[in-house]
Point group: C2
Chain length 224, copies 2
C-alpha cells in the first residue's frame, strides 16, 4: 500500500512573485484611510483571509470596524494592486513544477486566499486556466486561511484525501492551515518569510522557491 500525495499550492509568493506588490498595495489602501502601519507588519499578514486581516488591523489601531470601512479597504487594495498589472511574474521553476506534476500524473491544485478578481492576472501569468485546472479561491469557501477550508475544498475537488496531501505555501498562514487539516506543510522562502518562522509554523521541509522544490520533489513524496 503506497500513498501518492496530491499537491495543493498557495498562489501569491508560492507560484507567482507578487507578495511585495500586495504589501505596498495594502499600505497605500491603509494610508488612504489614515491608518499608519509599518510595512513589515503588513508583510507578515499577507496570505491570511482579507477579512481577518482588516478586522485585526482595525482592532489593533482601535478604529471603528464597520462593514463599509472593510469593503472600502478591500476595494482600495484591489485598485492599488492593479497598478502593478503586467509586472507580476511566475517565480523561478513554477511552470516547470506544475508541468512536471501533470506529466507524472500527480494531482495538483491551487488554493488562494485571494478572490478570482485579483487572482486572475496571476493565474494568467502562470499559464493556469481555472477551466482545465483545479483552482479554489476565496469566493468558493466561507473562511480563508488560517482556516483550512480552502485546502480541504481543493483536496475534495481533486478527489484526494487531505491527510495524504502536501500543502505548499510561503506564509505561516498556509502552514497553520495545513496543520489544521492534517496535511503535510511545505514552506517556500520566496514570499520573504524567514526559515525559522516557517518551521515554527509547522513546515515539514522548507525550500527556496518552486525551482528548489522541483529539484527536491522526491523528498516530499513527488515520485516521478
Amino acid at each position: 500500500m503506497t500513498t501518492r500525495p496530491a499537491f495543493i499550492f498557495d498562489l501569491d509568493g508560492t507560484l507567482v512573485d507578487s507578495v511585495y506588490e500586495h504589501v505596498l498595495a495594502w499600505q497605500e489602501a491603509l494610508n488612504s484611510e489614515g491608518i499608519e502601519l509599518a510595512v513589515w507588519r503588513i508583510h507578515r499578514r499577507i496570505g491570511m483571509s482579507g477579512g481577518l486581516f482588516t478586522h485585526q488591523l482595525l482592532r489593533e489601531t482601535k478604529l471603528e470596524i464597520t462593514p463599509e470601512r472593510i469593503e472600502r479597504l478591500n476595494h482600495l487594495h484591489a485598485k492599488a494592486y492593479q497598478n502593478f498589472r503586467g509586472m507580476i511574474r511566475p517565480l523561478p521553476g513554477a511552470r516547470e513544477l506544475l508541468d512536471t506534476l501533470t506529466r507524472a500524473g500527480i494531482p495538483w491544485a491551487i488554493a488562494t486566499s485571494g478572490r478570482m478578481e485579483t487572482a486572475a492576472q496571476n493565474l494568467a501569468a502562470l499559464g493556469v486556466t481555472p477551466e482545465t485546472n483545479v483552482v479554489v479561491t476565496r469566493d468558493d469557501v466561507k473562511y480563508a486561511k488560517p482556516d483550512p477550508d480552502l485546502f480541504v475544498a481543493a483536496a475534495a475537488r481533486l478527489n484526494a484525501p487531505i491527510i495524504d496531501s502536501v500543502v505548499v505555501g510561503d506564509s505561516i498562514w498556509d502552514l497553520l492551515a495545513a496543520q489544521r487539516c492534517h496535511a503535510l506543510g511545505v514552506g517556500l522562502l520566496s514570499g520573504g518569510y524567514g526559515l525559522g518562522e516557517l518551521e515554527r509554523a509547522g513546515a515539514y521541509r522548507v525550500y527556496d522557491d518552486p525551482a528548489d522544490l522541483l529539484y527536491h520533489l522526491d523528498e516530499v513524496g513527488g515520485r516521478r
Copy 2:
C-alpha cells in the same frame, strides 16, 4: 568601573520604514537592465554595500560586470526610489528613541550603507541633521556593510570605543559587520527579516522596532 555604551544605528528598516520601497526600486532598476530576480532575493540583500550587491547579482546572473553597468544600475535604483519621495516615514518610536538617548547623555550615531544622496530625505523625515548629529554614509568610507568600516568610523566620531558600542540594525549585514568589529549587535524585525535569521547572524537581542527597543533599553545597556 562601568561602561556606558554608545549606540550606532543603521538607517533603512531600523529607523525609517523604507526597506520595501528600496526592494521594489531595485527590482525596477534590474528589470530596466533585463535582469530578472525574485523580489525576496533582492530583499535579503538590502543593507549591504550597493557595490557588493550589484557585483554579486551580476556574477549570479552571469552578466558581464562593467563599471558602466554598475553605475547605471545604481543610478536607476536612485531614480526609482525617488518615486517614493514623501511616502517614507520614521518607524514607530524612532524619534522618541533618539530623543531619549540625547536627553540621557548617551552618545549615538547613524551609519548607513546608502549615500547621502538617498539618505538625505530619510534623515529629514527623522528630524536628524548631519550638522548637529553624527551621520556616517557610504561616501565617508571605503567599504560598506558587511565590512565594519561604517560602524568603526561612527564610533571614532563619537569618541567611543567600538567594542563597548551597541550596533542596532534590521539586516543580517548589520549584525555580521557588528561581529567583525566586536560590537554588540541588536536586531530589529522592522526591516522584514525573521527573528531566526537575525539571531543566526549574531544578534545579542532582537526587538520588533525602535519603540520596542526603547521599551527594553535597559536590557542592552541604555541606562537612563
